[in-house]
Structure formats: structure tokens, C-alpha cells
Symmetry: D2
Subunit: 418 residues, 4 copies
């Protein structure tokens, strides 16, 4: 079997972690069990670019159990858990992933997936989708469809679609309610602080926290900053409606140029680049801490920081100290990459449970509807979304109401008055 | 001038209240000022069914100043502020509204509007839209368009649209982000408790609060219940995705049949009927308090309560005590009508500022696009929405970021990778 | 029977309100019932200066039922509920209280109590205790003891005690845990905003709220400001430890001179005078709102405001507009008196339940220990405090753990290690 | 130089960590600097039993710089950071500590301190104080005084004092406001969840969290559980006043026997033993997670768990799975020891800054007042406490108000009225 991982001997440790994830992913485990007998993906080649974590492992095992042949690469050069990678190889997945890749190694892994000629393409950030559309259009024809996990990836794919270049249908798993309303907000909200705490062990209470962006991720981070006792939670935005929502949610809003002067901790979650840049570094307080929760490591603009610094040292495993020329010290976490993935373990299993249940159901849906779907970036069908939610509630022993017949009629009708 | 109100002598008191509202509605005041010179609505007949409050008065005055002829009826038999009604008559508005109408008086007022042959129809709950479509189709042809303020009203109008019966374009002002994301959540969230406190003066801290429905209104109420210190905040829902969102937002979810046994305060916000009914009353604790925040007084099913009770008395102005046959006492607030409007003063001016700025801009838009719009229930144009948000931020002295040129290009492009 | 109230005909309305309070004061009702048979206060003259509200009425009725002869005056010229006063007269209490007294009328009422030669003196702010010690020392000798409800009053009495002037034992009911940890924090916290909302109907979400003082009252107000969605909650303090606690609780701290420039709503809760004064008024934004939650109307220094203003008008019943010479308008609520008592109904019954259960138990304790207590300001005995808490929990159907025998031994012992 | 640590080669890594702590401990750094010139502790032998963390290192270095001879042992067999221990040896501290000691090794280290005949005894849990009083009374005479860091330790020492056995004055540093109101609440509150997340990576949102004990530590944990989105936060208590406070703070209260059936995560913070025991394990849900935040590993009663289990395995570094005979699995974190110290890094530097500033000032105070202090467990003098708070505020650039002369007079006086 072909693969490239750090060390197969790490598999037992990986298996223990995966076993813990399985405990915390009841929805995916149920779906996995349900489809392991009939093997609806028998013979289908699945190529996945995902963060190689214990949760991804549970998804990969579900694909294997459903009959698929699976090839996996990591979606971030720093996020692979080597023991998980080893355990997956043992389970029969072709893994090309190890922690600490160079950029060229990262693309080499993507090319390995392409060599396997995947029919279903699972992506997280759309690097693989982009690579196929840029360099391997020949491959596109035999692809049944793809899925995309992130907001950033969906934006990139929509751009492709707008230009008429999209070559296979893609389900924007990110757009499932049970994905983006939960994963980004509650998952990233918590794990971003988990990453910051593991990296720094600072106290959030009493701090001034600046959150750039008030999308789902920013909302989650601002909420947890408040919940951990931050003295001020400041949001920066470019969209006036979101800015106003942040204010009514009880947060302050100001431009980054003002926030830069007062913040203790800065967290970017915009999906945009150079959100914190030279003009902001120049104003920051000594001791300011910078972390990124957006997909790419471009939100904190490191080239500017490198230029401004007279020296740089690694203080702690995920803390880099930049000493500026005027003596101020600024601390960058996880080299500006996703702090929750690099310094902590990414999303908790519980949210990945829903995201990946959507991934799995979306893949089945693509196969079931092979050849019938338009070359579009589609939202996942609502009934799959509600199925995921219902299974999740069930796993929590939570029951909900259902409408009476009179109520169903009432909401349909319009002929009633005051 | 024709009108029917309680007592014109109340006008000075009404004017003082309106003057206070004007202080707290900076966006609408700016728009009013901006359009009072050119009078873009000169000669247009505007018929409005809205809660007759000081905030509505500011909107009505904006229409008058913009040149319109305005006819106003109250949108709820119990919600009219008589002093405001008097003040508006003085300002030249044809008002047909007084507090404590019977149902037939309410419809008589609506018919008075119809007699005026309005060209723009502003509604809050779609009773006037429904009446026109049911009994006055002849009127429909000369109507330029309508607006609708509430979720409930939009649902009713969409049903009309689906059946192909809608006779003029309607802008669902409710769907403006600067309306529904703010008005329902922050406005109703706060004012529902304001109503409950004015009616009862109970302490929320330590109480078990049950919120039926987790739409925008329910979200706002649950959030404020927590913020006021409720010991448990329990949400009931029929939609699994919303139920799950409530859980992840830190609330409990259970069926009403279980919640009924433990709740101290029940607040309905579903838009549906009989959400609390016989089977629930039968299980409630002695002393349970019931309030409604939904549009119609059907969410707490009063006929069941009347049947179960052996006696009934008015304890306090907005508190009715039902003594059940087994001796338990249940307290219904505001006779099951909107507790924030009946027992308090409805939305604070600040949220109505945005809702009504949207109403005003939507009306101008309808007139500007007379004859060009489809017979549909439309969302308000996004640029109007963003204008409202930007003006609001400005009024709070809040500045936000704008994207650099590089950032604008970045978010448009898809050709960048890890 | 002697008394002086506004209008006895208001008694039925007062009785309905009292009946509602009785529903929400389970602890006091239980104690009242328990002592109405044996009448342990038979023949004791009780003189009380308390806010004449429905909750006070329940306490007064408990004293009457326990056999006491009761004389009552209001503890604030603006806080008396006239219908309650009437109902109490009907129940046999000698009431000297009406809403809207002049200062001299207020002191006349206190003198009426003194004429009755009370043996137990219940006070709220220590005005009656002070009057006795200043002008009626002859009366002091026959006084069994007193109680004091407020922090402010306890401070005044402690000053008397320090100077060796205290003439009878006083139980600082305010110092009962079940009083000050609940009444000030949860009661005043909620009712201060209740008062502000009834007075102004503004939206708290999005506002910048400044709280002067971070004692129990200030803590409660800051907590509720946050819970109602304020965008910034700023605390001012003179004590560094409290200031630091405010910061770690997630609030901002700054001097009033800075806060004055940015606040939308200012709420004083310091127990001190001139906390907001000329230097602050001069910096405030147009539209700033001022409210007081401290005992006396000296925290917002009105003489300075009067001097700075070129005009003044009553906008709404509890809102006075001061127009300063530079055109800025500042709004003072409830004439700087306790906003929760003047504009709303004071503490909710639920917290007064515990305060007044402590008052009642303290009075019984004074009588039981007549002549045995030192001339000191004493804390209430802990066992009474715990009795109140346990009865309250019981009324909420909440059960708690009790220690096993091993655990009791464990916490007593010191001979165990790591 | 004598010492016993794991590996001196770890010193550089330890020094980097200490350097990070120094950045976050501005108060202690200022005091250290201030006393390094005069060396007021010259020749004083300081024996300390503290968790060997980077923050303790900053304190130890302050003592060394002030002239003391310092001997240090770890206060918990599992909490020592070996790299810190090495770095301290390099700085001249006699360290006897390494991670993963047996109980006998732990006591061997304490005996090593005793061999050094310390004059100042710093303790964290009172094991060393107890050992001296039990076995080394001869040593007591030359001891100038001691300090104690924890609630648990203070309880043990108070028991000694009550029995008349205390042989030297002890300052209960734990009782400094700037210690116990901050360290226990904000420090342990955050770091307990930090430990749980590092150990398990679970999502707190949506979980039912049970907190045993509502002292300062329990308050902090309950607050953070809420802030991280727990669906229900349930408190168990034996004290009715604390139980009531928990309820009014917005939490549920019930006996552990009820909570056991519904909790997902249990966290003990009582200072008592066997708070969770056989009767509770028997009712728990499959998958329940147990963590301890109290000083000793006796709160979760492990002997009962061992007896009930049919097997046991280490799932993750700090997660032990107990499989009960009926198949349910229960997960114990950090072997029931302090989860924040074992699975994470203990308190953040920022809170230890204040605790240890108090430790340092208390030690100076003991030396300055040698021979003058009674054989009592004393609270730290208020002026030291306020000094710590003021320095902390200064380090955050926070300024506070000071009273005007009129205000100072006002608060002292009692002769003012309504």
C-alpha cells in the first residue's frame, strides 16, 4: 500500500485518540454503522484534503467501511497529527501527510491524490479543487463531484463558478446549517482560545481582546472572549450591518487603527489578507499578542512584522517574539496560522461530528445523483441537514415538539386576523 | 379634518413623548429632514396600520413632512397610546385609533382607511392587506405598493403570493437586516421583560423561564432571560436545527409538555397557535405566569384556560388570575396579547428608528419605481439596508474599517493557496 | 385610629397588590403564619420608617398578626404607594405617609412615630435613629432595640457607636447574608433598570453604561447592564481592590472624569455625595441620562446641574431635561432619587421576602433578648440567616446536600496530607 | 549546592518559560526590583512548598534577589515542571522536586526542607506546616513565621490554632483579597477548563456541567462553564446561603445524587472528601467525565470507582477510562488530582502575580515584625493588599477616582438626612 507519513509506529497512540473521538461523534458513528453493511461507496475513489486529526480519522474510517478507496492529504502544512496519520494507514487509507511540511511538500501530497484519480473530492480551503482546475482539467471529467468544508473555499469555488470554469458539481458542506452555524461559531470560538491558552497560558479575564471580523467565526470568538471575562471585547468590521450587530450584541466596534493602540490580544477571522499590517503594528502596545483564526496565514501580515522587527525569537513552542526597533515586543502565535489547529487540536469532536456527517451524506448524495447535478456550487439539501440535527439531538437525549395538525394548518394559512 | 381618537386634549402630553422619541431616533430624523424640502411624496395617500406609539408618530410626521396625506389606524385593539393619537391629529394625520377597541371597532377603523383609497399601504400583521385582498379588490389597482412590518404578516402575504392572488408589490420591511435582526431580537427581547416587570414586578433571577420558539424573537427573549439571571432558560421548538442552536447557545431544550411542569414564567414567540394549551395548563405549577410575545393572542390558548378555571380575577392592571378547579392559580399577562405593547411601551425608540427608516425608504422606493415592480413580496434592496446601518453607526459615533484595494481584490479572486 | 394617608378609598387597589406580594413572599408568609397564633409581640409598639410598598405591607401585617402595635412612616418623600398606605390603615397600622411629601412633611411623619414611643425601631437609612439620638434621647431608654435595612444607615449608626453615643442595640439587618448579598445585588440590579426603562423606554443594548461604585449594588447594576446588552459597561471606584474586581469581572474601569465624556447612561451607587458634579456635567455628551441607585439624592449633585442649565423641563413623568448653556441636554431621572423606587416599584417581592424575613426575625430576637444585648450595631445571628436561606430554597423546591459524618470529621480535622 | 531534580539540562527551556512569566507578572517584578538592592532578607532561610511552575520561579527569584537562602519542594507529586526546577537550581535555589513522585518521595522532599531549618515557611496546602507540628516541634522555635496559600491549608492551620498547638505566626495569604478573590475565582475558573480541554478536547457548549461547591473556586468554574456555553450549569452545595447565591447567580442547584444522573462533566471544588462516591458513580451516564479542582485528590472517591470497575485503561495522557460492570464508561481526568495543574499549567501568571506579591510582602512583614506577632493565623494587613491592587491597576494603565475632601468627610459623618 502506498502512503507517506512520519512514523507508522505511532499508530497505537493514534488509535487511542481515534477511539476517544468515536465516543464524541455519535452522529457520524451511527451513519458509519448504518452504511457499513451495504457498502454504497464500493469501488468509489475518494480523495480528501483535510486536517489530519482524530475526527477526520473517524470520517475516513466511515468512507472505508462504506466501501470507498480513500486517499488523504493534510490541508495545512502544520496541522497533521502524525499518530493519526499512522493509524489511518493501518486502517487502509492512503495517507500523504506529516506535520511540518514545506510548501512544496504540501503540493507534492496534493499531486499524489491527483495521481489516484479521485472521483469524489473532499476539500478544506479549495486548494485541491483549484489545483485540478488549474493544472489537471483532464481529471475533472471523471470526477463525480466534490465537497468543500470552509467559507474561504466556497468563496474561491463560487468565483470559479461565476467565471463558468467549474467542471464538476460541488456541495458547499460549509453551508449546511448544522455545519457553519455550529462548527465556525462554537467550534472555532472555543478552540481558538484553547489554542491561545495552550500557547501562552495567559489569563483572559481583564484583557482587551480585539476580534477582526464578525462573521460566524468572529461571533464565536467574541462570545467566548466575553465568556472568559475579557474586560473589553472590540470588534472590527468592514460591513456596517455586521458592525451594528456586534454593537447590539454588546461589543465595541472601532477601526483597527484605533483598536491597535489599546488591544492586548488580537484575533483575526475575516477571510481577508493584511487585516493587521504595518500601520497597526506601529501603534501596538508592548506585549501585544497576535493570533489568527482565519483559514490562511495572511490575515496578520507577517512580511510587515518581519520588516519592522530588529530581532525575533521563539519564546515558547507556539510563541514568536518580535522585538521592534523601538523596543516594543509583539508576540505572534502559531506563525500566523490557524491557532486552534496548530497550538491546540482543532475543533472538538462534537462539532466535527456534524460537519463530517454532512460531508459523508453529501458524498453519498453525489454518488446517488451522479450525472444529474448541475456544474454548480450547491447548498446541501435541507433534509440531510435536518437529519443531522435530529440525530444530534437524539444523541443528547433531547426531545423536541412537533406541530399538531391544527398548527400545521395555521402556519400555512393566511386568513386569520387580530 | 376627519379622525376618531379618544381625546384631543391629550395632545400636549403626546407631543412631549414624541419629542423624547425624536431624540432617540436619529436615523429617521435625518431622513425626515432630508426629504422635507423636496416633498417627494407630495399628493401620495399613505394608509398605515401600525401600533400608535410615539415612534410611529415620528414616522407619520416624516411622511407628512415629505408631502404625503396620511391615514392611520392602530394595529392592535389594546396598543394605542391615546395621547399620541391626539398629537398626530394635531399634526394633520387622519387617525382612527383608541385604546381598548372591540374587534368590530378595530375593523371599522381599517375600513376608514380603505375609504381614503390609500396608494401606499403600510401594515403590521397584514390585516389591512388581507382585508383589501378579501373585500376590496377594486382598491388594489390604484395601490402603488405596500410594506409589511412583521414576520407573521410576511408569512400571510407569501401565502397570497403563492396562490397568485397578490395584487400589488409589497416590500417585506421585516426582512431588512436592520429590521428583523435588531427589532425582533434586541427590541422585543428587552421590551418583553419590560412588559412582564411592569405587569408583575417579579424578580427574574432565580426563576425558570420557558421560551416557546427560537426564531429572532425567541432568541432575544432567551438571551435577556439569561441576562436577567434566570436559573434555567428552557426553549421549546419544532425545528431540529433551531433546537440544536438553542442548546449550543447555552439553553435547555425540551418539549412543552415537560417544560410545563417546571416553568415559573412562560413566554410564547412562535407565530403559531395553541402553543400552550389544555394539556400544558394541566401540568403547571401553582403560580405559573404566562406571557405572549408573538403577534396574535392565540399562542396561549385562552379558551382552554377559561374552560379549566373555576374563577378568574384581575389582580393587577395586566395580570389576570385563573384559579383552576384543583386550586392551582395561573396568571395570564395582558390577556395573552403582546405583553411588550400592552403592559409596556413596545419597542424602544432606538430599534423602531431602524425599522421605520426602512419603512420610509421602502415607501420612497415604491413611489420611485411605480409600475415597474413585480407583484411579489420583495426583500428591501440591500443598499437601503446598509444605508440605515451606516447612519445608525454614525449616530453612535462609531467608525468602521473599509477594505484596502488589495483586500477588495483578494476577496474577489480565487487563485491563492496555503 | 390615627393616621395620615392620601385617600382611604384606595385600599381595595392596595389590597390586590398586597395579595400579589403575598404570593411572592413565601418565607415571610410562613413566618407570619407561624407566629400569628402565639402572638410573641403582643403589646410591643413597633415604629417603622420604610418605603411604603406592597412588600412592606406584608411585613407590617406580619407584625400586626404577631400582636404588635405598628406605626409606619415612609422612608422617602417620593416612594410611598398611596393605595398600599390606605390598605394598611384598614389593617390597623397607624400610617403616616403619602407620595410627594415636602421635606418638612417627611420629618413631621417621623415625629408622629416618636409620639407613639416605639419600643422597636425599624429604619431604612437611619433617619429615625438619628432623629431619636439628636432630639429625643429621652425616648431611647425605653427602646428595646432597633434594626437598620441599608448600608448607608449602618454606616451612620456605626459612626454613632464609635462615638459612644448609641443608646440601644441595633441589628444591622442589612448585614444578613440573605439580605445584602441578594437585595442589593439582584433586587436593586434589576429594579434600577426597571425604573430606567419605565422612565425612558430606551434600549440598553448598544449603550455605554457608567456605574459609579462597585459595592453590592454597583455589582448588581453592572451585571444587569451587561445582561441587557450594553456595549460598554464602565465602573468608577475609589477602592483599588474593588476596581480590580470589576476589571476581572469583565468591566472597564476609569475615573469619572474620563467616563463622563463617553457615557450614555450614568448610574450612581456609591453611598457618597457629588459623585457626578460640575466637572463631569461639563464634559457629558448631548443626551446623557443620569440615574441614582444610592440611598440619598446627593450622588448626582443637582445644585451644580441647576447652575449650569439655562432651562429645565419635565419631558416625561420621571425625566427632567436640563438644557445647558452650550445647548447640550442632560436628562435627570426621578430628580436624582432612587430610580427603582420612584420610577418603578422598588425591589421585587422575592428579595424583600428575605430582607423582611430577616427584619421580622431580628425584631423577635431583640424582644427575646431584651436587656441582654450590648449597645452595639450587631450583625444578625448566623442561624437566623441560614433559616431564611433554607426556607427560601424550600419555597423553590430546591434541595441541597448535607455532609456525611465522614465529611464533617474531615473538614474539622487537619491531620491529612497529599 | 544540594538539590534533587529530574535533569539540569532542561534549564534553558525553563528559563524561556520563566522569561514569559516575568512579562506577565508586573507587580512581582516591580517588588523584586525594588528589594534587590537593599536585600532585606539577607541571611534568612526560606523554605517553600509550592507547585514548581514558572510563576513560582519568579517568586523564588525575588526571594533570592532579596538576599534569602531558598529551599523549594513541590506541593503536589504530579505538578512539578521539571524544566523550571532545573532553571531554579541554576539560579541558586535548593530544589527538591520532580514530576511523578511517589508519596514517600514527596515526604522525603519535605524532610529535606526541614533539614535546612527554614525560618520562613511558605506552604500550599499546609503539609509542611503539619509535618513540622507533628514531627519537628524542635524546629518551630526558630521559625519566624509562615504563610499559607490555600483555603484548605488555612482550614487545617485554624484547626491547629483552635487546639492551641500553633507554634509560629502564620499569615493566611489566601485571605488577601487580591489573592482569594482573584486567584481562586478567575485563575482556577479558567485553568480548570484549560486543563479539561487539554486533557479531552471536548466541546463545552451543549454540555451539562456539574460543579460541586460554590466557594470562590466553584464560583469561578460555574462562571466559566456558563461563559463557554454549557447548556446547564448545576451547582451542588451543603450551605444554604451559598446554594441560594448560586441560584440567584443563574445556576441550578440540586443534590449530587440527582445531578449524578444527568451531568456530562463533573468538577469538584469543595475542599471536602468523597464528594462524588459510589452512590453517585452508580447513577452516572455512560461517558461521564470527572475532574477535580480542589486541593487534594480525595473529592472524587477513587477507591469506590476502582471497586466498581471491571477494567481501566489510559485513553489519553490525562484521561483514565473506568469501565463499570454494567458496561458504562466513566472518565477520570488527571487521576483525580488538580486538573488545572496536572493537565494544564496551573494558574495563569497574571493571577499568580498577585498571590505571590502577597506572599513576598507577607514574608517581609514577618521578618520586619519578628517576635512581635501572636501565634495566630492572621489575615494579611489591608495596606499590603491595597498596595498589590494599586500596582496591578497601574500595570494595566487603569486609573481610578479618589475621594474629594468633602466626600471623605461625608462618608465619615452620620448627620445628614433625606
Amino acid at each position: 500500500m502506498e502512503y507517506k507519513v512520519k512514523d507508522l509506529a505511532l499508530a497505537p497512540q493514534g488509535n487511542a485518540k481515534i477511539s476517544w473521538a468515536e465516543q464524541n461523534m455519535p452522529v457520524l458513528m451511527l451513519l458509519r454503522k448504518r452504511h457499513s453493511a451495504l457498502k454504497p461507496l464500493k469501488g468509489v475513489r475518494v480523495g480528501a484534503v483535510l486536517h489530519v486529526t482524530k475526527e477526520t480519522a473517524v470520517l475516513m474510517k466511515a468512507f472505508v467501511d462504506a466501501g470507498a478507496e480513500v486517499v488523504l492529504a493534510g490541508s495545512n502544512p502544520l496541522s497533521t497529527q502524525d499518530d493519526i496519520a499512522a493509524a489511518l494507514v493501518e486502517y487502509g487509507v492512503h495517507v500523504y501527510a506529516w506535520r511540518g511540511q514545506s510548501s512544496s511538500e504540501y503540493y507534492w501530497c496534493l499531486e499524489k491524490i491527483i495521481e489516484w484519480r479521485p472521483q469524489i473530492v473532499l476539500d478544506d480551503g479549495a486548494d485541491l479543487h483549484a489545483l485540478i482546475h488549474e493544472k489537471h482539467l483532464d481529471l475533472a471529467e471523471q470526477i463525480i463531484g466534490g465537497t468543500e468544508e470552509t467559507t474561504t473555499g466556497v468563496i474561491r469555488l463560487k468565483a470559479l463558478e461565476r467565471e463558468g470554469l467549474l467542471k464538476y458539481p460541488v456541495i458547499a458542506v460549509n453551508n449546511a446549517y448544522t455545519k457553519h452555524m455550529f462548527d465556525n461559531r462554537y467550534g472555532t470560538g472555543q478552540s481558538t482560545f484553547d489554542g491561545i491558552l495552550r500557547a501562552t497560558n495567559i489569563l483572559i479575564a481583564g484583557k482587551i481582546v480585539v476580534v477582526a471580523g464578525y462573521g460566524w467565526v468572529g461571533k464565536g470568538i467574541a462570545m467566548r472572549a466575553r465568556g472568559l471575562g475579557a474586560r473589553r471585547v472590540i470588534v472590527t468590521e468592514v460591513n456596517p450591518i455586521r458592525a451594528l450587530e456586534a454593537i447590539y450584541d454588546g461589543f465595541e466596534v472601532m477601526p483597527m487603527s484605533e483598536a491597535a493602540e489599546i488591544g492586548d490580544i488580537f484575533i483575526t477571522a475575516t477571510g481577508n489578507k493584511a487585516v493587521i499590517r504595518r500601520e497597526h503594528f506601529e501603534k501596538m502596545k508592548n506585549g501585544a499578542i497576535l493570533a489568527n483564526a482565519g483559514h490562511f496565514n495572511v490575515e496578520v501580515w507577517i512580511p510587515d512584522l518581519e520588516e519592522l522587527a530588529r530581532s525575533k525569537r521563539h519564546m515558547l513552542p507556539y510563541v514568536t517574539e518580535y522585538e521592534l526597533r523601538d523596543g516594543r515586543k509583539i508576540y505572534l502565535l502559531a506563525e500566523g496560522r490557524l491557532v486552534n489547529l496548530v497550538a491546540a487540536e482543532g475543533h472538538p469532536s462534537e462539532v466535527m461530528d456534524m460537519s463530517f456527517a454532512n460531508q459523508f451524506l453529501a458524498s453519498l448524495y453525489l454518488v446517488d445523483n451522479k450525472g444529474k447535478l448541475p456544474l454548480r456550487v450547491m447548498n446541501p439539501p435541507l433534509e440531510l441537514d435536518e437529519m443531522v440535527a435530529s440525530l444530534k439531538l437524539e444523541s443528547m437525549s433531547v426531545r423536541i415538539d412537533s406541530m399538531t395538525r391544527e398548527q400545521e394548518e395555521y402556519v400555512k394559512s393566511w386568513r386569520h386576523g387580530t
